[in-house]
């Protein structure tokens, strides 16, 4: 599907990637939600921008900014991938700060190609800031083998519910146990701390649960830090889809509303279960 938009001006012609966003904050918030490591892979696809952040080949966070969130978007090749310092990108996007009730900061992204920096042009109230971020060769990201065909359990839960549940988790232990039970029809989050064990049960019938698609009871343990990496995304999201494959690999998808454009964006996190030594 060719979703490459025809640029209205000739400006985008010489760039491999050219995109215009009327509100830089949109990209800023999405990029921040996956900034759990300093560097990220920035991919420009036909369908939009993908920012992927990975830690020790064990967890991945991906923010996707679809072309329909941009005012203009054009990419000359199928997939342009570069590695950049994501923390720096985020600071640049926020250079003007945010003053409530004012005209949002406009953003232009330009990338000429291999060897060139990623250029950001931000404009606010007549002031122009130009940022040139050094680009590096993109590392290959770990393949989580997140086979959508192998999803055993899928739960769609309202963000407030998951937020509340996670806030109750005792973080003295670095493991969280997730149980999805077909018999008991619930999602259970457990932590085993020094003081005692905490169990938070969210029944399938709860108002927070929008859909409970359970094929087999699963008990998996994950590092709390993996969930913590996704907190920013959780806070700005309205709904969360938890999907676990038969091997216990967790895929969390956050639905992030973009009220300014009455559109949605997606942020995903993937991680493997913790191997227990019993």
């Amino acid at each position: 599907m060719n979703t490459t938009l025809i640029t209205r001006s000739n400006e985008g012609e010489k760039y491999l990637l050219y995109a215009k966003l009327d509100n830089a904050k949109i990209l800023y918030n999405l990029a921040k939600s996956v900034n759990f490591k300093e560097h990220a892979v920035f991919c420009a696809l036909d369908s939009g921008l993908k920012i992927s952040c990975e830690d020790a080949k064990s967890t991945q966070g991906i923010a996707f900014v679809h072309t329909d969130l941009f005012q203009e978007y054009s990419v000359k090749e199928d997939c342009v991938c570069i590695k950049i310092n994501l923390s720096v990108l985020i600071e640049c996007l926020n250079i003007f700060g945010s003053i409530v009730n004012s005209i949002p900061t406009a953003l232009k992204i330009c990338y000429e190609g291999y060897g060139h920096p990623l250029s950001l042009l931000l404009e606010d109230n007549g002031i122009i800031t130009e940022c040139n971020i050094k680009t590096m060769e993109a590392d290959s990201l770990v393949n989580f083998e997140f086979d959508f065909d192998r999803i055993i359990n899928k739960i769609i839960i309202k963000s407030e519910g998951l937020k509340e549940a996670l806030s109750e988790i005792d973080v003295s232990n670095d493991i969280i146990e997730i149980v999805i039970s077909i018999e008991k029809q619930f999602l259970r989050l457990s932590s085993f701390g020094l003081i005692g064990d905490t169990h938070i049960d969210i029944p399938a019938s709860s108002d927070y649960i929008e859909s409970f698609d359970c094929k087999k009871t699963q008990v998996n343990r994950y590092k709390v830090s993996f969930f913590r990496n996704s907190l920013k995304a959780l806070v700005s999201s309205s709904k969360v889809a938890l999907r676990i494959t038969d091997s216990g690999v967790m895929g969390i998808q956050f639905l992030i509303p973009i009220p300014e454009l009455s559109k949605m964006a997606f942020v995903e996190f993937y991680f493997c279960p913790d191997e227990e030594i019993e």
Binding site: N85, C92, G97, I127, I128, C131
Partner: protein, 291 residues
């Protein structure tokens, strides 16, 4: 010697608190201790760092800062009187910890009025008598006196000339900086990305604030800023400063300035001027980083 000052107007009390808050922040970033010298004159108060007076704008190490501030006492205070001991000794210099003064001013929001004077209570003190509003409509107001120990600096130790307003006669170019809010935010973000900042100004009123590191280069372009060219030698002037020092300066300003001017004098330092309505003038100097 006679000294007395009174603040009745809430706005003036707030403004004085903002000024002391600024002085406190400026002093806490100084290279010496956190004390400040206040020079009391018949119509003004000057705040100076003890090191400033002796070094007087000579920077031996880069990254040094200094400030000099004068407030128009007759305008700021609802009542102000200062008379020196004699014609020769027409002012007095006291060394104080601005932190203590700020603490007193911020102690409660229900200040009805406050009076300042110098008193001798075992040691010389700046005596602040604060009348607080009563808690309820019917209850009487309370008065509390705070005594802050100060040190009188003799004029033999420090010459009057050390307290003169820093001169700008060698300024080549003066340009008005962008608004404080924008500047504050920008400098903070740049601080997260690098250590040094370059400020460049042209005769046409264009100002560029730039950082350049191995990883990124960020340049902000401001156009049509009020500019004054005193020396017609170069088309543009630029200076390299420590972002941390610049950030300290911007964050110290707790008053609402009417304008902030950047003076390019020579390569040695950046001379900023923070002006509020003729009420207040703050000179802030940051020594530049030479390549």
């Amino acid at each position: 010697m006679k000294f007395g000052a009174k603040l009745i107007n809430t706005e003036n009390i707030e403004q004085f608190t903002e000024i002391v808050s600024t002085v406190n922040k400026l002093c806490s970033k100084g290279s010496g201790g956190k004390t400040c010298i206040i020079k009391l004159n018949h119509d003004s108060m000057c705040f100076v760092l003890p090191e400033f007076a002796s070094n007087h704008m000579l920077f031996y190490n880069s990254g040094q800062v200094s400030f000099w501030m004068r407030i128009d006492a007759l305008l700021l205070f609802d009542f102000y009187i200062f008379e020196g001991k004699s014609i020769e000794k027409s002012s007095v210099m006291i060394e104080i910890l601005p932190e203590n003064l700020l603490h007193v001013l911020k102690s409660t929001p229900n200040v009805k009025n406050l009076k300042l004077k110098l008193a001798n209570k075992q040691t010389v003190c700046l005596s602040i008598e604060i009348e607080y509003c009563g808690i309820s409509f019917k209850s009487k107001s309370r008065t509390i006196i705070h005594d802050i120990p100060v040190k009188i600096i003799s004029s033999s130790f420090m010459a009057m000339k050390d307290f003169q307003e820093p001169n700008l006669k060698d300024t080549a170019l003066s340009i008005q900086m962008p608004g404080l809010k924008t500047l504050k935010h920008m400098i903070e973000r740049m601080k997260a990305m690098g250590d040094h900042i370059t400020i460049e100004a042209t005769k046409n009123g264009d100002l560029t604030i730039r950082i350049q590191t191995e990883c990124v280069s960020v340049s902000s372009y401001f156009k049509n800023l009020p500019v004054q060219v005193k020396k017609n030698e170069l088309c543009s002037y630029s200076m390299r400063l420590s972002i941390r020092r610049m950030n300290d300066f911007i964050n110290s300003i707790q008053v609402k300035p009417d304008k902030i001017i950047c003076n390019f004098i020579n390569n040695k330092y950046a001379h900023f001027l923070v002006i509020q309505n003729g009420n207040l003038v703050l000179h802030y100097l940051i020594s530049s980083i030479l390549d």
